[in-house]
Symmetry: D2
């Protein structure tokens, strides 16, 4: 019986990630056949440049796939099985401000952690809800596979504001780290590992890693990580310097709890000062990306569109993103794949807020994710996670209630922010910088000396 | 690489189930190779009659397996990978009293439900702990696969009194009912179904059943069960009348909650009067088994031992018990099989006592079971389960504290017992009947008029 | 400074309790000055006969109090500080059916316990919500002091359907039993006792009783109750036979848990058979009341109205109801009185459903009740209470969702109902009997053989 | 009937607080009669200088009180009704190091908050347990009234390591702040206020303050505090500059949550930088106290002992400490006084760790404290409190398990410590400084770059 083929819309078509993901989808048509692929964005000019290249890729590799790029929600979201969402409200320009404003006050300036993540979240909530509503309006049976950042705040927002929506929140960081673990262990693929992991998004720990036979791989990994972090002795693939620092820093982050292996983003919470020291407040990661990947991708796309051929294209298949296909297939074919998803806790972590959105192993089938219980977590992780989940929940409360006070409280609570005064100064700058993107907040009744 | 082969001891070697299970093990040597098989029992005379036949089976079908039957704990439990426990403290004679005493007062008289289950539990706790202690003394790395009844009370006792023991509590009733569901659905095996189920042992509900592609099979099953119970239109295999009544009664039990499919044992709690009406206080199920299966198995074993051949044997392979092999393989080879096990709740059912032993789907690997979260259960099931788990916990508290009062409270709480007076009368009879098996209870300070 | 005086409306003016309560209010004007007293009922003819007498009482004892009896909600609920609610939807006639229908099937027939309480609850919810809405419409700052039965179901309904309403649910049974305890102990008033108590309404236990100096009075009380129940050696006041049986039966109920002293209503759950045995299905307590108190009160009221004098009145001050004044004063004057109220659990009982309405000691002030924590309750009480609270919650869910199925589940769960079939038969009779009072339930999809 | 009089031992007799407290006790003999007063300390030389003066006070004011100062536990703790504990293990010298070491790294250096509190806690646990064990050995019916700091860590330690001990943990900070609130409101005493408050010790918030009639005093207080902090317009009593800064800083701390009024210690967590800025790493509060109060008290005591008269004594009655008498009287006479105590949460705060030691209003009687439920707390306070309670619990776990790793985790988690590296550096210095007082910790397996 010929496998059913699917209709996909990529929300955030103008993203620099779109070409690599389209190539990845075209590379997995065997397992995941596609009949229709659409790009949707609210920035027509930007999306058309990306779409030009994707059109060439598809005509060359799978001409029978119906392809369209549109800014019309009805066209984009009608007759769709899956929405693959990687939107970035405010694009890199706003990300630069997210990073630079905190650094002005000596505070971590990062895309999803600390004040930057809060600012980015306050922009993203409206965007993700909008797309979710389009999906439910035009394709009520569709699923949204959301890997838009900051996933933690977006996931809490969809839990609170769209509790019954068919949205799966997933993050690629654990995938990337597990790829490195596999290299460190000499395995051919991370899929040879069975892992137990828990935390919030960008804020978690591996507690058990076995091979297929059930042998415990943690001792070997811990031994390696305690010396080299997540840098394999022989790098399969060269990475940018800043990523290399991150994987090396895992060494110190792991020292804080030798019983586990940490998600690398914890560096921003446990060693914020080190992060600030190596940041340039006037030229942050966002600037690197704009000058690096964004420039590269758009120049390549223009060239492919111009030459109506991908022959000279240097754009690589983003196979690292194949977890999106795994997730889509799990829903489509009830595969029961074991994947880390961001889901409502509801008892999975026994001694943690049942309404928190936690990142835990799930068995994914056509009915969605079945979280696997974690049990009780140690006090160190509970203390860190309760603090951080309160930041995320207060941010969503602030967005929903247009509350300056609650957003200030979110910043005060963040482990990356040293005190309430700096929190207030950063917030006032962020309000100003985001006035075109955030809901208008009520005026805080309180001043501090 | 030649698969590792295992050493097994069957605790309760003298059980009538042993021959069928040994035949089943011999039928599954391909997937689960065995190097040594021992029977252990504290009733030498009874075990030797069973062992005689098993010896013949093994010599005929797998002569290289080292076989022994012993009443010496050290011999039995040394160099063992798995203990397969199906003990019955007090044998069928006491089960007959468990059933007859309550019936004397018009109350359900059943092996594991109501006062009978409480009495049986009070006998079994000591027996299971004893075996567990032998295992940990002589083979500290071994696992106990316990399907001794009453599994709910035994599981609560091991949780409370041996919290760190490597014991897996499992029950074959859901396996049996799922076999029938598969027949009703026209599937070749229950393993083609992916199920979601929750409850206490002998006290649970299926909430979702899909085929491999994720299609919802519940509507079809509910339609069938609401008319015929768990009786397929064409019975694959004739069953005893009393089992047939049970599978038919599922029809009425299911009516109490049309959203789910019930475990058949719920009939004793929702329709106790019907159960009592069709029981004969002087000739209960235990008597049927003694006159039926027990007599049959022992005569067959004597014959096989006499003829030193299984040629004329009518003892069938108990393939229904192959779930035991599935469980052993999951531990041995880290298969990650999805099975219903009785595990500590600890958040799996979000709105239920975290310390309750609940029967839920688990992913089973070499580290043991990983329960899959159930989420929040409806008020009807919560009310029934909280009442019943209190019966089970009070029984274990009564055993541990030798408390007549707590055992009376357990009986008062049972849905099968109409009032505190009858609970008291039954308890006093059971105390008398079990004085050789139960711990000696303190004298209750209270009388009732 | 002259104490503020209050405006009261008694909802359920036509109740036989109204005259005694009015006399009690007039007897407590010193502590609780009243400027305006209104009676409200939806049965004008019945209320006018009661109002006639009350008019005489007020003119004789406190002529400056403005008095009115009305069936007009706006008039009744405008300019009101307190609504004192003792409504009985369906009056005694329906209560008779509540009691007789279950008895037909050998099941407890009682006003607030078992099927009778469920039926009464299904009538009362709408009535209490209606009054609450009138109060909030016409006197938004007022408080409703609700002692309408069945208080447990009414309290759960107001929690779920009017979560922010200023309603205090209180019951007089503990007050009555504590009065008797005081007599047993030789104290002049129950107010010399400091008690710790927990449970659901009509379903609780005293765990600690001290005198003012902190001496433990439990041993002496337990000693007495274990022999005589709640019957003091010398009765201060003769009670009706049925009440006497109830207070005597406490002896057996207490035996089920010698560590506590029980609420007498537990007799219907622990000794339902004894209750049924002494009931006459054709002449229940409701009939006794109609023939007894109801006839007496209305004849007395007619006489007082006729004679325009209370001189020959035999209607007594209902000082037992002075707890209503205590509660009103606590709100009015922020007295911080310690009283048993029915409040949302929310942690008061640590190991019990946080959304359950539980009866626990509270400190009552102008902001309402502050529940005192109970801590963790034993397994016996938890099992009983979880079962019973599920009955109450399912009844309110059934009312809100018009669900025949959920009401059947409520009856199945009740400890007083022996099995699902009898539950179904009783339900079908009750549906028929209450078609003028209950919401119209959907048709249950299920039949049982 | 002549009131019973009591035997008291003050543990930490050599404390500078002892004279003021003894004078306070002598000033309250009417409400709390004392027959025997003993001082106990393990520093004889220091205690004798204090005892000399106390001996004079007692002979002058209540000669019939039996007085003794001893370093012998049996003598001190025999025939005792109450142990009043204000011990300081390591005295002010170690407190100076607690404050100076963190300041070396730009981190808050304070007696009970941040690294200083953790270091002080690691010294105090052993000391308080020792005294508790003496009390239970020699006067098993006695109660310990503990106001030794750091009360939060000491309370968690006694909860975990002595769960059944009769110890009441109380703190005087809320008392001091409520005194100031009363002045701000123009009330004669804080006892005219009924408060609702929750938090951890030195980490809480007032949520409701009423006068006796139930009028809401919060608006007026919030208005004042948002401008002047806790500084009344006319100071009843001049305070030291550092205390004045603290009460003024409440203004900024309150801005973080305008719905509540904060405990002043929150300044160290919300404005750590401001605290560090005004600290002199070489001359901290401990030095001020040694040079100030300690020198003053010991010189005064020497003079009183020399002159065998208190005539020229400038030592004031520490009436601020009369809360200790209130607490003792509540136990002794079952007064049911409403006081803030540090008790096991166990549901009092519904959405917070049930095993946390929380500071909440309690009704105190002869059976000990009955916590009043708080209900659910907002996300901001929950985030802050979960982080801080994890610091406290990890400190006690580190003490009990002699774990360097867990103590490092406690420091990492503290909101006052900027990152894991500084946490590590501070810890290594504190280990060195406290080697005579802390248990010897295992060596951490981990290093950081």
């Amino acid at each position: 019986m010929k496998k059913k083929s699917f209709s996909i819309v990529i929300a955030g078509g103008g993203s620099t990630f779109t070409p690599g993901i389209v190539l990845m989808l075209l590379d997995h048509l065997e397992e995941f056949p596609i009949r229709k692929l659409k790009l949707y964005d609210n920035d027509k000019e930007r999306q058309d440049r990306i779409a030009g290249a994707c059109d060439v890729f598809i005509r060359e590799k799978a001409p029978d796939i119906e392809f369209a790029a549109t800014t019309d929600p009805e066209e984009a979201f009608t007759d769709v099985d899956f929405v693959m969402a990687h939107i970035r409200v405010g694009k890199y320009a706003m990300r630069a401000l997210d990073e630079q404003i905190p650094l002005k006050y000596g505070v971590v300036g990062q895309e999803t952690c600390g004040p930057g993540g809060i600012a980015y979240g306050m922009r993203s909530i409206g965007g993700v809800l909008e797309i979710l509503d389009y999906m439910e309006k035009y394709s009520p049976d569709a699923w949204m596979l959301n890997y838009s950042n900051p996933a933690a705040i977006v996931a809490e927002a969809t839990r609170r504001l769209r509790p019954n929506s068919k949205i799966l929140n997933i993050c690629d960081m654990p995938v990337g780290i597990e790829d490195r673990m596999a290299q460190i262990l000499g395995l051919s693929s991370r899929k040879e590992m069975k892992v137990r992991y828990y935390g919030l998004n960008h804020f978690g720990w591996w507690t058990s890693i076995q091979d297929q036979e059930g042998n415990d791989l943690m001792p070997k990994l811990k031994e390696h990580v305690s010396q080299y972090g997540y840098i394999p002795k022989t790098e399969a693939e060269a990475v940018e310097a800043s990523w290399n620092d991150t994987f090396a820093k895992a060494r110190d982050v792991q020292a804080a709890d030798p019983d586990t292996l940490p998600n690398t983003y914890l560096q921003y919470y446990l060693f914020p000062d080190d992060m600030v020291k190596k940041s340039n407040p006037n030229h942050t990661r966002a600037n690197e990306v704009m000058e690096g990947r964004e420039a590269f991708i758009f120049s390549q796309c223009d060239m492919i569109t111009r030459e109506q051929s991908s022959e000279n294209s240097e754009i690589k298949i983003d196979d690292h993103a194949s977890y999106i296909v795994d997730l889509a297939r799990a829903i489509a074919y009830n595969t029961g794949e074991r994947m880390l998803l961001i889901v409502e806790n509801n008892g999975a972590i026994a001694n943690f807020d049942p309404t928190a959105m936690v990142e835990v192993p799930c068995i994914v089938g056509s009915n969605g994710p079945e979280p696997i219980t974690v049990g009780t977590i140690p006090q160190f992780q509970k203390g860190l996670m309760e603090q951080q989940v309160s930041v995320e929940k207060l941010t969503v409360e602030a967005w929903a209630e247009k509350s300056f006070q609650k957003l200030w409280q979110a910043l005060i609570l963040s482990k990356t922010v040293p005190n309430a005064r700096v929190a207030r100064l950063i917030l006032e700058d962020l309000v100003e910088a985001n006035k075109d993107f955030w809901p208008e907040l009520d005026q805080s009744p309180t001043r501090i000396s």
